[in-house]
């Protein structure tokens, strides 16, 4: 994730396949490993991912990228909503972070 943020998005955009892959990976990762993100990730990094990659992704013209970015944000929202409604008892640290 840090490696992703170290590159300028405009440079990545020049390579269509790579650009799409970035959003595919983010979507898969946020779909399956949100627990890990809230347990172990530095939250500043997550905020940077949202601000520098996901929000610009929503404004992209390419439908696939737009869809991946929106789905990723949807997963994040759903996870936060569910956890606020019913905090995880198994992992209190995660519930606290959420």
């Amino acid at each position: 994730m840090k490696a992703l943020l170290n590159q300028k998005l405009d440079d990545i955009k020049n390579y269509k396949k790579l650009h799409l892959q970035v959003y595919h990976v983010l979507e898969e990762f946020f779909k399956k490993h949100l627990e890990l993100i809230f347990l172990r990730f530095d939250f500043d990094l997550v905020v940077q991912i949202i601000e520098k990659l996901l929000l610009p992704g929503i404004r992209e013209e390419a439908f696939e990228i737009k869809s991946c970015a929106l789905l990723t944000i949807d997963c994040l929202n759903e996870f936060i909503y569910n956890n606020l409604k019913k905090p995880s008892k198994k992992q209190p640290t995660m519930a606290q972070n959420v």
Partner: protein, 212 residues
């Protein structure tokens, strides 16, 4: 050997592996694959990394070896074939990846060789044909993931996650010198996350930090 021929070498071994692992020839697999042993030995015999790196002839040999290995693992698409091949490769020859990566990763990074090695590691974690399983008695998936992640982390840590200050452009080609590495890293992560052969909760349970 010309670089384009090098790629064909991988394809040749991919096809050859299917022949070697044909039901009629499986008993002779070890014997057939042993033709690669001299190549492994030639590279392993070098104690000093500098010595290995300074010889152009050995650079070609390392590239040849990883093209062959990549071709072999590309060809092992079934669970049975992968198990036979992986049992031969791990742990006896696995250390060669670490040795070669350690040699060519050191600044200034030899981008061409390192990409080839990382592409091979990426090939190892591919589970698109469901060849890696986390069965009762098969932990190949876990080994492949753990070792692969360690190698990739080694590279990313050395270059501080492709920080332009740590890995500046030497030839001005951003794609070849930076973005290609990002691509391999993303591919690797995608294959691990979507492969469904590792239970990440186990890593958490045993306080294994490989994933984080």
């Amino acid at each position: 050997m010309h670089p384009s021929q090098m790629k064909q070498l991988g394809n040749f071994y991919r096809i050859l592996l299917n022949l070697w692992l044909n039901d009629d020839f499986v008993p002779r697999f070890e014997q057939n694959v042993s033709q690669l042993t001299p190549l492994f030995q030639e590279i392993m015999v070098f104690q000093s990394d500098q010595q290995l790196r300074s010889t152009a002839e050995f650079r070609t040999k390392v590239m040849r070896l990883f093209q062959i290995l990549r071709g072999l693992f590309k060809g092992a698409i079934t669970h049975k074939n992968f198990s036979v091949l992986f049992d031969w490769f791990y742990p006896e020859y696995f250390s060669i990846i670490k040795k070669c990566l350690g040699t060519y990763i050191a600044p200034p990074c030899d981008d061409e060789v390192v990409i080839l090695i990382l592409n091979f590691v990426k090939e190892l974690v591919d589970n698109s044909s469901n060849r890696l399983r986390f069965d009762t008695w098969s932990i190949n998936g876990l080994i492949v993931y753990k070792e692969g992640a360690t190698l990739l982390i080694q590279f990313y840590e050395l270059y501080d996650c492709l920080d332009p200050k740590k890995k500046p452009l030497r030839n001005g080609d951003q794609y070849k010198e930076q973005l290609k590495f990002l691509k391999v890293g993303l591919n690797f992560l995608e294959r691990c996350v979507t492969g469904n052969y590792i239970n990440f909760a186990i890593c958490e349970y045993y306080n294994d930090n490989t994933f984080t």
